[in-house]
């Protein structure tokens, strides 16, 4: 009965029963624990990076490398010199996402918090407020003109272009920002579950048990791949936040 391998319904692999406070607003389940650890690690990183020794050693070295990566690789890369004031924001965003994602492959927990849409949606909304806020701060009320009217558009096409720009900047942009993180992590989680279910289904006394190393190799390979995806999605989310902030506040066009 190979094909009858029981695949758990989606709600079983993303919904976790509460450890305490079932149904209350402070309900504690697996996802909340992942948030807790991610916040803890991010705060730890900030504390380590805050010591001001001239020659950094050990943990401070690591924290400074992390700051440098976000500053040079993300903030300055997307916004230029003025991006430096956004480094703390982008830094907390990047490491919070990275630490929640990496729990996808950490045994016992093995649940990326971003596979529940609540977390990517909240982060995308925070980023939404920040980049539109940066736009209003930089342009005042003229931000609507900056955002909705691209330069050099014929006057006859203006209403259509403004409508398209409004839908894409104010509605679709946060949506795709959310879905990109959410769907990537959910897909990775389902992929790992699929291979794990297949492996256990093949551990039988039947002759086709000889194939069981194949899905197991799949689990190993995709676990390594998911480590890469966790990093990449945190990077892409933060990079896009930087790009959106830059598009909102820039004066060039």
């Amino acid at each position: 009965m190979l094909l009858a391998a029981e695949f758990p319904p989606l709600s079983h692999i993303t919904n976790w029963s509460a450890f305490a406070g079932d149904g209350q607003w402070w309900e504690i389940n697996k996802v909340v624990i992942v948030y807790g650890f991610a916040v803890l690690f991010t705060v730890l990183l900030f504390t380590l990076g805050n010591k001001k020794k001239l020659v950094p050693t050990g943990a401070q070295n690591l924290a400074e490398m992390a700051v440098e990566f976000v500053e040079d690789g993300i903030a300055v890369e997307t916004m230029g010199k003025e991006g430096k004031k956004y480094v703390p924001f982008l830094m907390s965003l990047f490491f919070f996402i990275f630490f929640t994602n990496i729990f996808e492959v950490i045994p016992v927990i093995q649940m990326p918090a971003a596979a529940r849409i609540a977390m990517p949606m909240t982060l995308a909304l925070i980023a939404y407020v920040v980049y539109h806020g940066a736009g209003f701060k930089s342009h005042g009320i003229g931000y609507f003109k900056h955002a909705l009217v691209p330069p050099g558009v014929p006057i006859a096409l203006l209403p259509l272009v403004m409508l398209i720009e409004f839908v894409s900047k104010f509605l679709v942009q946060p949506f795709s920002h959310t879905v990109r993180l959410f769907a990537n992590l959910l897909a990775g989680h389902i992929l790992l579950v699929t291979f794990a279910v297949l492996t256990t289904a093949l551990v039988t006394p039947k002759w086709y048990a000889v194939f069981s190393p194949l899905p197991f190799a799949g689990v190993v390979f995709f676990t390594a791949f998911e480590v890469f995806v966790s990093f990449l999605q945190a990077y892409v989310f933060t990079l896009l936040t930087g790009v959106y902030i830059n598009a909102a506040q820039s004066h060039e066009h």
């Binding site: 989606l10 690789g73 890369e77 897909a187």
Partner: protein
């Protein structure tokens, strides 16, 4: 009619496959061009890589929306 015989889940799975065609071609083309650019000008590799990931993120969104619709329609 073939489509009429498929279950709701079958149609959802088929639609996800359709949604993956465009982004598949797009990402392939994008990364291919980026590799070419990096091979020609290794000194600009850092900039090309960042822009490549940005482009991939935008293209990939289409496939991921297809993936989400797959669950919305198929569940």
């Amino acid at each position: 009619m073939l489509l009429a015989e498929l279950s709701n889940k079958g149609v959802a799975a088929l639609t996800y496959g359709l949604a993956a065609i465009g982004p598949g071609v797009g990402i392939g083309y994008l990364v291919g061009q980026a590799v070419q650019a990096m091979a020609r000008q290794p000194e600009s590799a850092g900039m090309v890589r960042t822009t490549m990931f940005l482009g991939i993120a935008f293209v990939e969104a289409l496939a991921l929306i297809g993936f989400v619709v797959f669950f919305l329609a198929g569940a």
